[in-house]
């Protein structure tokens, strides 16, 4: 059964049709990767799904329920979380606190006003675990604003993972990470998928990541799906080669 279904969704900005009549269907437990040239409409699609922008027309259905038109917090509560292409975190809070916000939300502890947050054992426990997974523990007390670019990217991903969603949207998760970090992130994501049965939708320009993660790839161009299929098939596709991959110089 498909968990997420995007039906004939369109969004235009002025004259520019960023996403047009796009259909997409993602099964529970699947890892789907969307690739496409810069400006193809990938981030816009993510915005439409996650409630950041409203579609001009069409529907987004998640777990059998229409979510287009809902506000982001509601969508997140339904189990659909996203990361951002440009790191989007809490600059004046420590790395630990950053992740703790996500965990508080996840554990429904965010409304407690009568008990110190530092005394919520399970919450802090969980935060430590997540930071450990992302190799961020040594930076736990660093104010997020002072992180290097790559570390910010890691924090970005850990914020989404901390929400333990049913489905995860990752917008270029490994951009800016060095190759070790990229590898360990891939590893981590794989683990999440297998362990929790998570469904994953991601975009990436790093083909290594794409091919080592994706069950299925969707190739987008000018706001539309051009082709869709298993990695090998897409890799071989002439359009993809021509428009997207270019010659293999590097």
């Amino acid at each position: 059964m498909s968990l997420l279904e995007v039906r004939k969704v369109s969004k235009s900005f002025g004259k520019l049709q960023a996403v047009s009549e796009l259909d997409l269907s993602i099964d529970e437990g699947e890892v789907r990767c969307i690739i496409g040239a810069n400006g193809a409409g990938k981030t816009t699609l993510f915005n439409l799904i996650s409630g950041r922008t409203r579609p001009d027309s069409g529907q987004v259905v998640f777990a059998g329920e229409e979510i287009s038109g809902m506000r982001p917090p509601q969508i997140v509560r339904k189990g659909l979380s996203r990361s951002f292409q440009v790191s989007n975190y809490f600059p004046n809070l420590s790395v630990f606190q950053n992740v703790r916000i996500a965990v508080l939300s996840r554990m429904r502890k965010s409304r407690i006003f009568y008990w110190p947050v530092s005394r919520l054992g399970p919450v802090n426990q969980r935060v430590t675990e997540i930071l450990e997974n992302f190799n961020l523990l040594p930076l736990a007390e660093v104010i997020a604003d002072k992180l290097s670019h790559g570390d910010r990217r890691k924090l970005e991903i850990s914020l989404v993972v901390a929400q333990e969603p049913r489905m995860l949207l990752l917008d270029e998760p490994t951009a800016g990470m060095n190759s070790t970090e990229t590898e360990s992130t891939i590893h981590l994501i794989k683990n999440l998928v297998t362990k929790l049965g998570l469904t994953l939708l991601l975009t990436e320009h790093d083909m290594k990541v794409v091919f080592s993660l994706a069950d299925k790839i969707t190739f987008m161009h000018y706001g539309q799906v051009v082709c869709e299929g298993p990695p090998q098939e897409i890799k071989a596709n002439a359009d993809v080669k021509e428009i997207y991959l270019g010659g293999e110089v590097c």
């Binding site: 520019l16 496409g36 400006g39 440009v86 670019h149 790559g150 320009h205 590097c250």
Partner: protein
Amino acid sequence: MLILEVANIDTYYGKSHILQDVSLKVNQGQIVALLGRNGAGKTTTMRSIMGLTPARRGVIRFKGEEIQKRKPFEIAHKGIGFVPEDRGIFPDISVLDNLTIAAKNSADGQKRWTLEKIYHYFPVLDRLRDNKGQNLSGGEQQMLTIARTLMTNPDLLLLDEPCEGLAPQIVNQVLFGLIKGLKDKEGVTILLAEQNARFCLGLADWGYLLDKGAIHFNASAADISANQEVQSKYLSL
């Protein structure tokens, strides 16, 4: 000929001591790579050269002139251009304005880059010329950042992670050629930090290895590519 010389600089963010006694040399017309893990200090080195996070100690010479005490805009006028990793697009003005707002001739009065030439490499920017900066996609912004700096006709270009967010086709067919062309045809010197090691080492003549804010190693790009030990120790390739 030596165009940039960084001699024993120490740089701090507030009280944290980031760069420790960093020295490097770049010859005219060379591409020099700064290599290192996340948080190694690559960006900080570039910011120090640009005067954005001035070094507290040490000397930076550009074309033989000390610039470590200069303001960023003065340094820019001397001929250094900076493409930052976080793009720094001006969000409220159009793409065209982003490109032209600070456009200037090179320090010796040459005008190597025009809008036409930019649009030749990045046709998207032409198409989007009236869009506001903040409305571009990630990759489009990256292109704009590179293009915007080129419009200032720098003699030395500091490129911080230029490939991030760009589709492979752009990286391989446009950016690679562009940088090569800058070096070969225009004699522009380039200091490059890039996680995409293949791209980086494919272009560079020389490489410096940074770790924890200090230079640990420097060698020709070919040597580094060949040196497995260095790669696994500092770059984890």
